[in-house]
């Protein structure tokens, strides 16, 4: 429950600290104290939030009447068996005691800001005759609940987008750029939030929440889009254009125009569209199996480890090729590079047209066929003596064919052993493939390294097949 209030409280905490800092003008800057004498398990905050939520629910039914606290006290005892009614009273007393906050406001036609105070900080109130068994929300308390909802997430952003339409309808044109900027900022914040959720390890619960509420989020995006579109339509009605002209004629210094307002809305629409795409991509990645997050790595200790066990030069080379600073090794030749290097008196006589013997080309054996004709018999003979792992096969030299590496073809035999069975012969048994976990670790001559699970191919006589 407290979690829903986190954005609201977290955003106000340091401002209240600043208000209460007691810092004197001109004194050296010091960091605020981190000694917050709160309950280490957040007990009182939780109780306060529970009470506000409870009163908020009751307020909808009671319509401003006093709410008895006995039901709430019973609920608290279930949640925290050790607490007493007196503890609840402590929370009610704290939330219903007004505190004074001092603000500063600008005074028209004066350069000096003026301070003023407010005591409208009590979230609850009790009856005047001091009955302690009941209380109700103050307007400030209702606002606090509303703010905690609005600050919760992006699902409520369309309310802000609708204010754009209202500002146009009421002719508050000077508010429009700021309202558009606010919605655009909300869009970016939400976009960044889902980006972070994808990247950070350990946020599975949050991702699950996004998945469960996917339809709500999509609806929120559609609502914002619809609000911005209707704002753009409204801006171009004859009535609005006329009103804007009148508004501008009264403010000759204003930098606003129909064009600038239109551009603000167009940019906002593009922003919503980008968010829609980003959200779709986000959902696709959350639901796909390929998403992987990687946590922290102690690179300083890894550097020490590599002083003990320096990696093989081939492995370092692979790491640097993957992540190090690279450049192109082969410069592409441009025509200007060949100027004066080529003979210009080329023979202009037409050479005879080349003839291609397509029929012959199609009859050339494929690489797999060449591989099988070279190694099939050797492999089958070896299989009769026992299973062969991929590592064994490479060591036996079956990786090379006419000087070329044929790893694809060799692995292909493990992927589809039926290649080995010659239809002209009676099958000698069943070919079975399995794997040995982490058994493969082989350095190839070309510098590549094969590492991971090893493949195992075995010829099992039919009679022992289960």
């Amino acid at each position: 429950m407290t979690e829903e209030w986190r954005p609201y409280l977290a955003s106000a905490t340091r401002l209240i600290d600043l208000h209460d800092s007691g810092h004197s003008v001109g004194m050296p800057a010091v960091a605020p104290s981190e000694q917050r004498p709160g309950h280490p398990e957040g007990l009182w905050l939780d109780l306060g939030v529970q009470l506000l939520e409870y009163l908020g629910e009751r307020d909808a039914e009671a319509n401003g009447s006093w709410v008895l606290l006995d039901e709430f006290c019973a609920h608290v005892r279930l949640r925290y068996p050790n607490l007493t009614d007196e503890d609840v009273q402590f929370v009610v007393t704290t939330l219903s005691t007004p505190s004074t906050l001092t603000f500063v406001r600008d005074v028209p036609e004066s350069n000096r800001p003026t301070s003023y105070t407010t005591k409208e900080t009590a979230l609850l109130e009790r009856p005047a005759h001091k009955l302690t068994d009941r209380c109700r929300l103050t307007p400030t308390g209702r606002r606090a609940i509303g703010l905690s909802r609005a600050g919760h997430d992006w699902l409520y952003a369309h309310h802000d987008a609708e204010k754009i339409v209202t500002a146009i309808r009421w002719g508050d044109f000077d508010q429009l750029p700021a309202r558009c900027a606010y919605v655009a900022q909300s869009i970016r914040s939400f976009g960044h939030e889902i980006t972070r959720a994808l990247e950070r390890p350990g946020l599975e619960a949050l991702l699950q929440t996004f998945l469960e509420r996917e339809a709500n989020y999509r609806e929120a995006i559609r609502n914002v889009q619809a609000a911005v579109e209707s704002g753009a339509e409204l801006l171009h009605t004859q009535e609005t254009i006329q009103r804007l002209d009148e508004w501008l004629s009264r403010r000759p210094d204003s930098e606003l125009s129909l064009d600038t307002l239109h551009r603000s809305l167009v940019r906002l629409m593009q922003s919503v569209e980008r968010l829609g795409r980003h959200f779709s991509d986000f959902i696709a990645r959350v639901t796909s199996q390929s998403r992987e997050t990687i946590g922290g790595v102690r690179f300083d200790k890894l550097a020490i480890h590599l002083a003990f066990k320096p990696p093989d030069p081939g492995v370092i080379s692979r790491c640097l090729l993957a992540l190090g600073p690279w450049r192109m090794s082969t410069p592409f030749v441009g025509p200007e590079d060949l100027t004066a290097a080529l003979r210009s008196d080329l023979n202009t006589a037409q050479p005879l047209g080349l003839r291609f013997e397509d029929e012959v080309l199609t009859e050339l054996p494929t690489c797999m066929e060449r591989f099988l004709s070279a190694y099939r018999d050797q492999i089958l003979t070896a299989l009769e003596e026992g299973p062969i792992s991929l590592q064994d096969a490479i060591r036996r030299g079956w990786l090379l064919l006419d000087g070329e590496t044929v790893l694809t073809q060799l692995v292909g035999v493990y992927a589809a052993p039926s290649w080995l069975l010659d239809n002209s012969e009676v099958p000698r048994g069943q070919l079975v493939v399995s794997f040995q976990r982490d058994a493969l670790n082989l350095q190839l001559n070309n510098g590549d390294r094969l590492q991971g699970d090893d493949l195992l191919l075995a010829l099992v006589p039919d009679k022992v097949m289960v």
Partner: protein, 261 residues
Amino acid sequence: MNMEDMGRVYAFLLAHRVVETKPAVRRLREGERDVAAVLTGADSEEIADLQTFLGAQGFTLIVHDDTSMPGVPTGGRVWLLTRSARDNPPAFLTVDRIHQGLKIRASETNQTATIWFLHIWLNCLALLYTQLGRGISEVSRYQDAIFRRPTLEEAVKHHVEQVRRIGVTGGAAPSVVQTLIAETGRDVHRRVGNFLALMCDSGLLQSIGEDEYRQTLLGAIEIAQSFNHSLATLHPGDDVLDNIVNIADPRVSGAGMPSDS
């Protein structure tokens, strides 16, 4: 996007690896505006074609905008050419500049340069990730990954000092010990300077002020994409790293060579 456009985009990406509509902390490069206009005007099918073309060479084209990635200016877009994690890098790609970049004496070998690069690089990554408590996949925190050159120099000197303390007798490899402890005077200063110039030139780091450097979005994406297929293979496992305890302070019990157990 016709073939001419594609050629122009391809050439620009190979040369600079990044195209931005509104670069946040640098000026537009020559031709970048035109290339960005081509990419902005391309429809999703054309971008997919370009991605296929680049993918066949071992590259990946990544696109971000202000909504998907912090640090991209409002309304801006960025396209990044990254090395594909799963495919082999293109054959025309070389890292031999590391050898030239990290050598400070004509007599030094490529092996010396590689050892220096690897150890400075890991200390740099410690500043970009470990010290920030940042996970490898947390790309969007690239803007937080800022360090000052003297900080990296100090980290490298501290690391060299640790290797010196361990020494060959403590179990360190002779090749590494001899290379790292041979440094004299301002060698580390020069090598770190060369390292930073190399990384900035490759678009993996960015100079953002006097002696101040930041990881680029390209650098962060490449690490997140390829870590598991590259540097992770050097990682011996957390239990082995746990055994490396405060080697700098030999009074601490258990300091010294880590075991594989």
